[in-house]
Chain length 293, copies 3
Amino acid sequence: MTTQEPVELEPPQGETLRVRRDGGVLTVVIAAPPMNLLGPELVRDLVSLIQWAEADEGVQVLVFMSADPDYFISHVDVTQIAAYRAEAARLTGEASIALLFRYLSASRLVSIAQIEGRVRGAGSEFVLACDMRFAALETAIFGQFEGAFGQLPGGGAAQHLTRLLGRGRALEVMLSADDYSAELAERYGWINRAIPGDQLSSFVQRLAQRIAGFPAAGHVAIKERVNAIALAPVEDFRFDSDQFGEGARTPEAQRLFAAALGAGFQQRETELDLGEWLGDLPAAEGGDSSDQK
Amino acid sequence: MTTQEPVELEPPQGETLRVRRDGGVLTVVIAAPPMNLLGPELVRDLVSLIQWAEADEGVQVLVFMSADPDYFISHVDVTQIAAYRAEAARLTGEASIALLFRYLSASRLVSIAQIEGRVRGAGSEFVLACDMRFAALETAIFGQFEGAFGQLPGGGAAQHLTRLLGRGRALEVMLSADDYSAELAERYGWINRAIPGDQLSSFVQRLAQRIAGFPAAGHVAIKERVNAIALAPVEDFRFDSDQFGEGARTPEAQRLFAAALGAGFQQRETELDLGEWLGDLPAAEGGDSSDQK
Amino acid sequence: MTTQEPVELEPPQGETLRVRRDGGVLTVVIAAPPMNLLGPELVRDLVSLIQWAEADEGVQVLVFMSADPDYFISHVDVTQIAAYRAEAARLTGEASIALLFRYLSASRLVSIAQIEGRVRGAGSEFVLACDMRFAALETAIFGQFEGAFGQLPGGGAAQHLTRLLGRGRALEVMLSADDYSAELAERYGWINRAIPGDQLSSFVQRLAQRIAGFPAAGHVAIKERVNAIALAPVEDFRFDSDQFGEGARTPEAQRLFAAALGAGFQQRETELDLGEWLGDLPAAEGGDSSDQK
């Protein structure tokens, strides 16, 4: 299979993204140690990558994967909310990752998430913004846990999950704030398919190359019509984003974030079983977190 | 896990509902022998329960289950349509269980249906109005059978099933008027999950306590956004409710109800296999029901 | 089980359709050798059948199946686009099979697709327009491959698949242009259920007779409410139809169709594995199709 592109530009590398090109497909490896938190650097690099890829007519498909087998994107860095939001404004003019993610959904580029490890909060919302999601059956773990902090997910989860999973399952996922296996995520419609880990990469690469080989006009026509039905309008993403932004600034939310951070939140080991761990978080409300594991 | 509530009021008991409180969770056991038909008493008690729970800020989650292992809620009592509808008006001002059910869906309270046994007609519509539905894998049976009597389901099934199951499966379920196993109900999206019966109660209680432990502001924010997308407007529920109410009063419907009642409808034994039984109902149209089993 | 109809008219036979009547159920066997392409004859016969069935109050349910075990409806004949569209206008006044298919969806008649063999392109769109879809687990194969030719599906696939499968899976199916097994089609919601081939016919016939035995007023009421929610408006089908019609006339599309036809497209043997085969189609863009299998 040879590419038709006469000149194939090398994509720019980012501090948190490693990018390789194979014909019309860019494979983007997220590498933001220690646990792929979504902070200003990662948002900045995502913005630059999307801008670069959209400007090159030869690029048709983006594949996102992670360098960390345990974390795809863990979630936003709650200590840097203003900073990462500001980075998003470079692409959309608005300080909101919900609108950044929606920009990707609406792009002519076809985006595929190849998920290994944990993908929670804004990580889940990022893969929901991708056009397709395939996850490693054994290792991928999903969570939309903002409710544990009394918050509405701000990056579009309510928009996507409600449409994909239906009312009952979307409510369960967001109200429980719990972890979900790849198998259950597939059954619920959160992802396209759970695929055995040793076949995931070849499956996604074959699919990406296949799509990149078809006429780009078809991608655009199909995405436009599907998005017209199933992608929520900008104002709904903006509303959710604003609600999270305002909610996260309240003293109550700041107190909950601080208690969680003090107890191990945003630490690699703690978050391996974040779903379980959050079930104990309410105990911190009384100020007594000493008996949390 | 200790509750933060200083005073925990005891919930009122109803003639058809037994209620116990455990922190922010009310577990409501439906007990309306002989087969949990939805009649005026059960509607009256549901209205009182919802009013009481909403007025107590300490209550976050309602869990509904049945005292009868064979019937969760069988369906409405077709001999008392006007009477049970009138009871619903106490809560919403309108004589319609569709609007009562929708009121529950829109409430700040999180509602979970823990389903064992048969849940058909308005019983199915009640659990569809709950925020989540978990069913015993071995014993739960689902049916939306109003079509067998030439009627549109009036309690919101068309609204919920179409959105949850999609056009093809919603049409199948309502046009076939047949019984569906918990396994198939899960596959179709009618329920969140089918869970082995011996694990169901502990699963639901853990989930309910977990949700009740998270800040109530999150419940409200999440429910509002999900409902804005996936909960049909009041006027659509009212339309369906009116159509059933008018349809059920026609001579043709009354004749069909009478023939069915005469042949064993609304009797505990007959309804164990109601789906199968209804397949023979059309024979009654000719007035000859003698060969019905 | 006896029918209530005093006189049971014999349905008309078509050149490409064999029709048999059993009470309120018409079973329609598609027989358009060599591979059940959707051309002007099949569209003409479908129009006549629908008109005849709608005019006979005794007919309640249409079951569509195929005489060819390998092909249900393969797809449109791309060499006869103008001709088959013109035939559709007899029913709806507009030269569009999307509107013909939507007419069937909106009809008082209940339609069930009993799928064995391949159903791709407009074939998939025809079964999506049916009220229910049941497929042989071992032999049914699904594809929505217009994207391989740079086209939006014109017969309603974008409307139906997006609503049934959700954004991610609908994009995957249409962008990949690949083949999907009955098992995966069920998991994605493309069909109601995949059923072992040796049980499929008896399952569908029982269901059809059951539905036909219930009062017709219920069919109409249920279909109207479900369609009000889940069936896209006429203008959206028309838009997609126009986009395909215009796109297929462009020199680029004509060149792609010609290259494909030259390489074996619309030939029975080639299309057995059309999904795989289309993955090599882009190579034809350079004019070199010599190494295509």
